[in-house]
């Protein structure tokens, strides 16, 4: 019989004078939870930034509902919400690890009255630039999603008058 349960494996190895790390070439699976992969960390950071952007738009709209400007902002906000859905759909966190992105280093949330078009435009530009910076180390499929979102953000900046 060649099959053994996972629970019995350490006992079998111990009887044979082996440690588990002797038979696995990768990280020791019994040594605890592995660190999160770079692509997971990238996704978490991008998700946090996207959530900040959504907050910014919602604050801007709440201070200016019903105008033509608010309609434009709602349209752009809807696209950011689509970005967030797609980013979250790609985030697979190992069991037991925190799915919550680390707190953003962005500035504290402003009051509605302080969210100007200029500020939104600057945020869109900064987001596009940040996403392009992250391309270098992202897996190909994720890089394509980030590049597409960056292109969308760049068009938003222009739609906001920049």
């Amino acid at each position: 019989m060649l099959l053994a349960s996972a629970a019995a494996l350490p006992l079998l190895l111990g009887a044979a004078g082996c440690r588990s790390s002797d038979v696995f070439t990768g990280p020791d699976p019994l040594a605890g939870r592995p660190p999160l992969g770079h692509d997971v960390l990238t996704l978490q950071a991008v998700i946090a930034a996207e959530e900040n952007m959504i907050d910014l738009y919602q604050l801007a709209i709440s201070g200016d509902s019903g105008t033509t400007r608010a309609r434009t902002l709602r349209s752009l906000l809807a696209q950011h919400q689509q970005h967030l859905v797609q980013l979250k759909a790609r985030l697979i966190v190992p069991p037991g690890a925190s799915a919550s992105p680390s707190p953003s280093s962005a500035s504290p949330s402003p009051r509605a009255s302080t969210v100007s078009i200029t500020r939104l435009r600057a945020a869109e530009r900064a987001s596009a630039a940040d996403l392009v910076r992250r391309l270098a180390t992202a897996p190909p499929a994720l890089a394509q999603l980030l590049a597409s979102i960056a292109a969308s953000d760049a068009t938003h900046a222009t739609a906001l008058g920049g």
Binding site: S75, A89, A128, A136, A141, A143, S152, T155, T158
Partner: protein
Amino acid sequence: MASTGAVAALQAALAAENAAIFGYGVAGAHLTGSSQAAAEQDWTAHNQARDALAAMISVRGAAPAAAQAYYQLPFRVHDAPSAIRLAAYLEDGVTRAYLGLVAVSDQRLRRFGAMAMQDAAQRAASWRGSTQAFPGLTPLVP
């Protein structure tokens, strides 16, 4: 010798630029005033991009694919609205083509492709009058 993936992605972008150059020639004939000026400006941008891509392909030891003599248009272009729709369609195609460059292993090509996507997406949004959530990507379902 460059990877065949990078050269293939560059050739695909070049093909899209050549198609856009042809298409803008058609679209521009149906436009006037500021729209025609914008089409000429975009046509010039695509010519410059074509030359840049051809140089990048040559540097990698390959021959840039030649433009076709004629391109089948996706719909009949007979007036200004259809010409504007064609311009947006062309830019969507260029954006998609540069997306291929973003997936290659060469980091400089990735960045180049991403910046070219932004340029094309901006032109598409200008012609269309609206932005898109995922320029260059086919509609995504969560």
